[in-house]
Amino acid sequence: MLKVDDLHVAVEGKEILKGVSLEVGRGEFHVIMGPNGSGKSTLALTIAGHPKYRVTQGKIIFEGEDITEYSPDERAKRGILLAFQTPPEVEGVRIIDFLAQVLAEIKGIDIGEAYDLIKKKAEDLWFKEEDLKRFVNVGFSGGERKRLELLQALLLEPKLLLLDEPDSGVDVDSLSVISRKIEELHKKGVSIILITHYGRILKHIDRENLKVHVIRNGRIVKSGGAELVDLIEREGFKAVFGGGNGE
């Protein structure tokens, strides 16, 4: 469904991704690990279409269509959703109104129906009705922001969900609800690319079919199964990279 082919990406003139290739099939669960600054978030943001991330070489194919030059909303309409590592605050825009507008425009759901659906799903992620009247991410804790990202994923049910460190800056309880929801989406057939530093978020997830990639200096240096996660958890990235300069 997603084919990233020899992707080179530059940000403000500096090359961050130096030839990444990755294929994600329908319903697959991919994990991308790597040290800080290795290019993990860049990959996610580029697939989602962030204008600052410029593709200098290679392409992104989604369901047979070259989307490399598409705007973020065109990608979202095709079923790609990025759950941000640090979603920004949007002053003055109420969560409920925002989500209802998105559902109405993307899924064609009637506004009234959208409100009901949002309230119902929000409960699963511990949001109370009055929370939904708050402005998007304004004054939110780390855990609240990540749960709101997951709520959007549950509502939109994308074909491909990119999760950029859904486990960072999150308390233990939030982490467990987040990982259970990720598994729920996976079981519904959503393809997932999950970016993380740690293996702990994968505890609630069926490890059998995980496809794990380790990224370093803008390239995927190793791919494998769940055993790679265990290895990195136990011995750090140097066990993968060899030598002593793993971060």
Partner: protein, 446 residues
């Protein structure tokens, strides 16, 4: 502007207008005298306007009405087609469209509110066209007419005072609380006179009212200069909200003059929503606040085309514990310029003041300047200010777009959200229109 006009040309024109107004309004002599005195002051007063020079003003006095508008508007079909289609896009009701077209003028407003008025008049509410109030309640009007201004402060103040016409007189008896907003829309379409309504608000002790003036839709006006003057007198514990909605066409200069005296424990919340694309809007409202009184000036500005907006605001905190907030939020588009220069003067102990100014610049040629002024004459005042001028953040826009909203929709959402916290006092029927106007402006559809 071929011929050069002189002050004495203007003087004789104004004299004729005063005669006319006095006769037509069956005006008591004391009021006509005020007009003539103002005319004398007009000759010597300074002009003090960065945009309108003396020749422009004199030409306006000689011929207040602009050219090129339909001669007579007898039905909505006579409106210029662009305007009619904009009103339709905004979803504005036919009744309101008639007001906007000037088909229902101030005297009609009196009729519409008549039944309502009779009910509330018994309880102590007076709302009258100012001319009528001058005749019917001369003592109260005399006590409150031009007590917060001097006609000779500037040529514009003097000119307004000499030829004022229209406006309303609002009086609330002690303890009277009006539980719903009063919406008044007055626009005088008479071509030979300047648009210079005079508004007086008198709120006796413990009274409460919310007055909404104007409307959010663009209005068809016949004059290129608008000189309205508002005087508000709030007695102890009174609570008055004055919300001014304006959406001017691009040829109009507005010089609203607003001043209020705020009694002990009284509250005056003054909100101005400026939409559209006038030529220029310069205002420096002034407030004098007694002990524990409170004043709030909220400016919501959507500056389009080459609109030049200069919004001041002078708060004199004169009684112990008095406080004031001057907050503005401006969305500045195209080649519009917005300047804010609020001043808060702490003149008594334990006073508090805060100035905030936020602006969102929507184009490279949009311009914002802010000059907050805090003056403390005592040693225990709390005065502060904050300002933020910026563009739409790329991260925010990307975030909304990554949910599937087009750039246009995402921008609309951010701009509406930016202004939203300032719109807390606006009744919902106007909010709907304001949001729609913002959407249209962002999409370039105004």
């Amino acid at each position: 502007m071929s011929e050069t006009l002189t002050l004495s040309d203007a003087k004789s024109i104004i004299e004729n207008q005063i005669e006319d107004l006095a006769r037509r309004n069956r005006e008591p002599e004391w009021m006509t005298r005020i007009r003539y005195r103002a005319l004398e002051e007009f000759i010597h007063a300074p002009l003090n306007d960065p945009i309108i020079d003396e020749q422009t003003l004199l030409h306006f006095i000689a011929k207040p009405e602009i050219e090129g508008l339909p001669e007579k508007i007898e039905s909505l079909d006579d409106l210029p087609p662009e305007m009619k289609s904009l009103l339709d896009r905004l979803g504005i009701s036919e009744v309101e469209q008639k007001y906007i077209a000037g088909l229902a003028v101030q005297t009609d407003t009196g009729v519409i509110y008549n039944q309502f008025l009779q009910e509330w008049a018994k309880k102590g509410l007076i709302i009258l066209p100012t001319e009528e109030a001058v005749r019917r309640y001369p003592d109260v009007v005399k006590e409150h007419f031009l007590k917060l201004f001097n006609a000779g402060e500037s040529k514009l103040t003097a000119y307004h005072t000499a030829v004022w016409n229209g406006g309303i007189f609002l009086y609330l008896k002690e303890n009277l609380k009006v539980p719903f907003p009063l919406h008044l829309f007055f626009l005088i379409q008479e071509s030979s006179l300047a648009q210079a309504p005079h508004i007086i608000i008198v709120a006796e002790r413990n009274s409460e009212v919310h007055l909404i003036e104007g409307c959010t839709a663009p209005i068809l006006v016949r004059h290129s200069l608008h000189l309205d003057m508002t005087e508000a007198y709030l007695h102890e514990n009174a609570k008055v909200r004055l919300t001014v909605l304006q959406n001017w066409p691009e040829y109009v200069h507005t010089r609203p003059m607003t001043r209020a005296r705020i009694g002990r424990n009284a509250q005056f919340l003054n909100t101005t929503v400026s939409l559209g694309a006038g030529k220029s809007n310069i205002a420096n409202p002034k407030y004098w606040v007694s002990g524990n009184g409170y004043v709030e000036l909220n400016g919501i500005i959507l500056g389009q085309k080459d609109w030049y907006i200069d919004l001041g605001g002078e708060m004199h905190l004169q009684g112990e514990g008095a406080s004031g907030i001057n907050a503005s939020k401006a969305v500045i588009m195209d080649e519009s310029t917005v300047i804010t220069r609020g001043v808060i003067r702490a003149e008594a102990p334990k006073t508090k003041g805060h100035i905030s100014c936020d602006a969102l610049l929507m184009s490279d040629k949009a311009r914002m300047e802010t000059y907050p002024g805090l003056v403390s004459l005592v040693n225990d005042a709390e005065l502060s200010h904050e300002a933020a001028i910026g563009k739409i953040r790329e991260e925010e826009l990307f975030y909304l777009m990554s949910r599937g909203l087009s750039e246009e929709k995402a921008t609309q959402l951010i701009v509406k959200g930016f202004l939203e916290p300032m719109l807390k006092d606006i009744p919902v029927e106007f909010l709907v229109e304001i949001r729609k106007i913002i959407e249209l402006a962002v999409s370039g559809g105004m």
